[in-house]
């Protein structure tokens, strides 16, 4: 499968689901889908087109929260990025982890850093931040204020050595 075929095939199989298509260069394709379709799109890319999942990146933009799912077509040196936009006030999307194990950790990461809810995720808990991280504080959001968290004292077992 060469690059033109990948682009054509993706367009053909995903058909109606694509709401925007942008070929940045011959090696980089960006397309946008509705957030409700993500499970189906993932299934098609992983099972039918045999693409390899790179990673997903969540981005907080003024228009809402975006998730970019990056897929590799190793046979033809092509990276396909599937973009989907979520409502900033209630970011929610279906989890792809039951379908594709490689997505499990990154969804946990996006959940804690950006506050995106993944429905039906097998094990949604903190991955990187400490377990008692204040709820509702998402460091990768634009409105996150570092002071809010940085002012806190660390829980120290005892403090006497410092005062010696």
């Amino acid at each position: 499968m060469n690059r033109e075929q990948v682009a054509a095939q993706v367009k053909q199989i995903l058909g109606e689901k694509i709401i925007a298509f942008h070929q940045k260069s011959d090696r980089r394709i960006f397309l946008e889908v509705q957030s409700g379709d993500i499970l189906e799109v993932t299934r098609i890319l992983f099972h039918d087109l045999k693409a390899r999942f790179h990673i997903a990146s969540g981005v907080d933009t003024p228009e809402g929260i975006e998730i970019l799912y990056h897929w590799a077509f190793d046979a033809c040196n092509c990276v396909l990025t599937v973009r989907t936009k979520l409502d900033r006030n209630k970011p929610e999307i279906e989890s792809c982890a039951p379908l594709y194990k490689a997505m499990e950790w990154i969804e946990r990461e996006m959940w804690e850093l950006l506050g995106i809810q993944f429905k039906n995720h097998p094990d949604l808990r903190h991955l990187l931040l400490k377990d008692d991280w204040p709820a509702g504080k998402y460091p990768l959001r634009r409105d996150y204020l570092p002071e809010a968290a940085n002012g806190q004292k660390i829980n120290l077992p005892a403090d006497e050595a410092k005062n010696e």
């Binding site: 990673i55 981005v59 590799a72 490689a102 903190h126 991955l127 990187l128 400490k130």
Partner: protein
């Protein structure tokens, strides 16, 4: 039914951005489950990067990991170049590949040494690290520092390799072949190493695909992916080399893949050095700005593919910078590989994906589960080393033969 207990390993034990905290669930000697807890090394680099300008970003990502300290910068500058359509002079591409491959050699040697240490072959550890110093000397000659070379920048590299240095570098690289051959023979011939690693920690090709595992971890299971070949970048499309794979996916094959890869690296370096004699010109295109856009950078680090995504909004700082290190995908496969093996084998299996091990001392266990039995890292390794000693007795072997060349 035997009692289930938990052995915590960690948290002080490094994995790229995150030292992980493994909790082994064991019944008697057998591992029945694995919990991986990350976050002890989370430094918020993605967010920090948004507050730095593009030149600083490269230095920041260099400090994600000291072992891959040129893989992240290469991926990062490629993402910037992709976002802003920046040209790179050909000579710079060769220099990037030289630095990248030297790093692969030093990283694989480091792994080999630590793997030897876990198995109870401290001789292998000392020898591997001794010869690793010679790679660091080459780095010092080219870049001025042993680690954190600061060579990459968007649009090229920061320093040229001088023509008069090339013969010296070539000689130093050629000298590495003898010790590498020694390691190849040691691993291939030693009955104890084979007994400890063959059939241990097997990862099937299907599991590799399901978890999207990368690098030597995937290639040892027969999945032939290598970003250097699949998505040519730097000078990899311009020189002649092979992708090394193996079939069994066990610890032994992972070691073999890494050792053979080092020979390929030497091949690449030698060809690139030759090319530097003919390809002249500047090594930096001095870009003045990064156009708004999105870019992706891929680089095959020693442990697998590094992925960087950069979104530029036309200012001098990235609007979003996503970093994905290979261990993020690889470490989770331990969950499959370690189940059903004994505690003594667990250390080497966990180490086999090369989760950017630093040293065992970082695995000191804090007694957080009071009342439960707590193994420290030292206990785990002792356990593993004892098994080797017993095997050695049984086989009547006397450790690896090291011929001083």
């Amino acid at each position: 039914m035997s009692k289930r207990s938990i052995i915590p390993i960690g948290p002080y034990h490094a994995l790229q951005e995150e030292p992980e905290f493994f909790k082994l669930h064991v019944e008697g000697e057998k591992v029945v489950g694995l919990d991986i807890e990350l976050g002890y090394n989370h430094r918020g680099i993605e967010k920090l990067s948004e507050s730095k300008h593009y030149d600083q970003t490269v230095f920041l990502v260099e400090r994600i990991c000291g072992i891959c300290s040129t893989s992240h910068p290469i991926a990062c500058v490629q993402a910037i170049e992709d976002a802003g359509d920046i040209e790179v002079p050909e000579r710079a591409l060769y220099i990037r590949s030289i630095i990248g491959e030297l790093e692969r050699i030093h990283s694989h040697m480091l792994w080999l040494g630590l793997a030897g240490h876990f198995l109870g072959f401290n001789t292998v550890w000392m020898w591997a690290w001794r010869h690793r110093e010679e790679v660091l000397n080459v780095f010092e000659l080219i870049t001025g520092n042993r680690n954190h070379y600061a060579m990459m920048k968007a649009g090229g590299v920061r320093r040229d390799i001088k023509a008069e240095d090339i013969p010296t570098i070539k000689k130093m690289v050629a000298d590495l072949k003898a010790p590498l051959t020694l390691f190849k023979k040691t691993v291939a011939d030693d009955p104890v190493i084979q007994a400890r690693t063959k059939g241990v920690g097997v990862l099937s090709a299907q599991q590799v695909i399901d978890y999207a595992a990368l690098g030597p971890t995937a290639r040892a299971s027969g999945v032939k992916i290598d970003v250097r070949r699949d998505h040519p970048h730097a000078a990899y499309g311009l020189v002649d080399w092979d992708v090394i794979t193996a079939q069994n996916g066990d610890v032994f094959d992972k070691a073999v893949v890494r050792i053979l890869e080092m020979f390929e690296s030497i091949r690449i370096i030698e060809q690139c050095l030759d090319k530097l004699k003919t390809v002249t010109g500047s090594v930096d295109s001095n870009p003045k700005e990064v156009k708004p856009g999105e870019g992706v950078g891929l680089y095959e680090a020693p442990r697998g593919e590094v992925f960087h995504y950069i979104r530029s909004d036309g200012t001098n700082r990235p609007a979003r910078h996503k970093v994905r290190a290979p261990s993020f995908m690889n470490v989770i496969t331990d969950r499959e590989a370690v189940i059903g093996h004994t505690v003594a084998d667990a250390t080497i299996i966990l180490a086999a994906v090369d989760p950017c091990y630093c040293c065992t001392e970082r695995m000191a266990a804090v007694d957080v589960y009071s009342g439960r039995r707590v193994f420290t890292a030292a206990d785990m390794i002792k356990c593993s080393q004892q098994k080797t000693a017993e095997l050695r007795k049984k086989l009547g072997a006397h450790g690896p033969k090291l011929n001083i060349a």
